[in-house]
Amino acid sequence: MDMVERYIAAVKRELPSRKRDDIGRELEANIMDKIEALEAQHGQLNEAQVSELLISMGHPRSVAHEFCPPKPLVSVELMPIYLNTLYMVLGILFVISSLEVATRWLSGTEMTLLLYMKALASHFLNAGYFAFTWVTIGFIVMTRDNKKQSPAATCAWSPAKLLPAVNGWQHIRLQDIFTDLATTLFLALVIWYPILRPGPGIESIFNAQVWTVLLWFTPVIAIAVMSSLWQLRTRLWTPRLLMINIGVSSAFLAMALWMMLNTPILRISETTWEGAISAVNIERCVFVVVLFVAGIALYEIIRDGRRLLKLR
């Protein structure tokens, strides 16, 4: 019977401590009943037969899970709200990280673009781990307290007030909104930093003519930010949002084309970049980036134009 005892001990190890003895006791009684019934039919059971019987009952972990099914840390009812909260928090943190690191990058003298990317990733990951932990702990506590918040209970809604969503593409992904938001705010910060934080050695990275035009371009950036915030609220492409996006993309395309025609774009001195990359190569890289921006803007104009036609 050593094998039976070991089997019961293995099941008990997988059980919560408060139920361990009770379930173990009952399981033992059930197994002994089964052995007794088999012995009444076939005589004394040998080790192989007992082993076969225990195998037929299932792996100790499966048996334990049948008695006490493992509970998820976050309940199924709370999972959609949990994921939404997590995406929102991480998205906001990404925007904040972009701005914080950009501020340090612009005020520093030795921070290269590569170091900026590294600092952004590091800053975002550190903040992300912290946020992920606390959001998850919060939802674990809510699950434990059994505070189930069904969508119907959390906000009043009416089917008639729901936005029409005929096409799958009309749903705007959170990550797209936050990426756009971080990009536009980053651009605004790069343009306005020398004015917002004046100081010795602080000057715009753009050449004087490009910088002046970019300053006048700020209202377009503001509209883009407002549009992203509106998208965050509706999460759905409407004809009005599409028209705004086409307008913003057209302005970005025009600006990118103008910048490509008015090189050099950056104010670069060889000493600023430690001589690691030549000024010509940096200018060439920036030109490619601006070309890429123009391509993206053109793509968005065509895409949103077609979507607008479909909606009408």
């Binding site: 006791r25 009952e26 009684a29 059930n30 009943d33 089964k34 008695f67």
Partner: protein, 116 residues
């Protein structure tokens, strides 16, 4: 080991019915193994891994009373329908009868329906 789709459907169909079968069988006291034997004799084959946790869940819900009894050097936990369990059994039996009545015409073969 994977379960065939038809087996999964069977399992789903049986799951709810098993509760009814267990509650009905426990009008008289039974311990785990004897309950399984009784169900098997009635033509309901139920896996031990399903039956024993199910009895405990029903007891936790207050539908069954349980008591440990000692006999010939062995101890066994006996389960029997509680007052709440009897009430629920009655409700479930009515539900089952209503479902059965509604389902029977639907489950008749097509040619039998046409001949009516």
């Amino acid at each position: 080991m994977t379960t065939a789709p038809s087996d999964k459907l069977k399992l789903e169909l049986r799951r709810g019915v098993l509760v009814l079968a267990v509650l009905a069988s426990l009008r008289d006291p039974h311990y785990g193994y004897s309950l399984r034997q009784q169900l098997q004799d009635s033509g309901i084959d139920i896996d031990e891994g399903t039956l024993y946790p199910l009895i405990r869940r029903l007891a936790d819900q207050g539908l069954l009373d349980s008591e440990w009894k000692h006999a010939s050097g062995r101890e066994r936990r006996y389960y029997q329908l509680s007052a709440l369990g009897s009430e629920r059994l009655e409700q479930l039996t009515q539900e089952w009868s209503a479902l059965n009545t509604a389902l029977s015409p639907l489950l008749r073969p097509t040619n039998e329906l046409e001949s009516d």
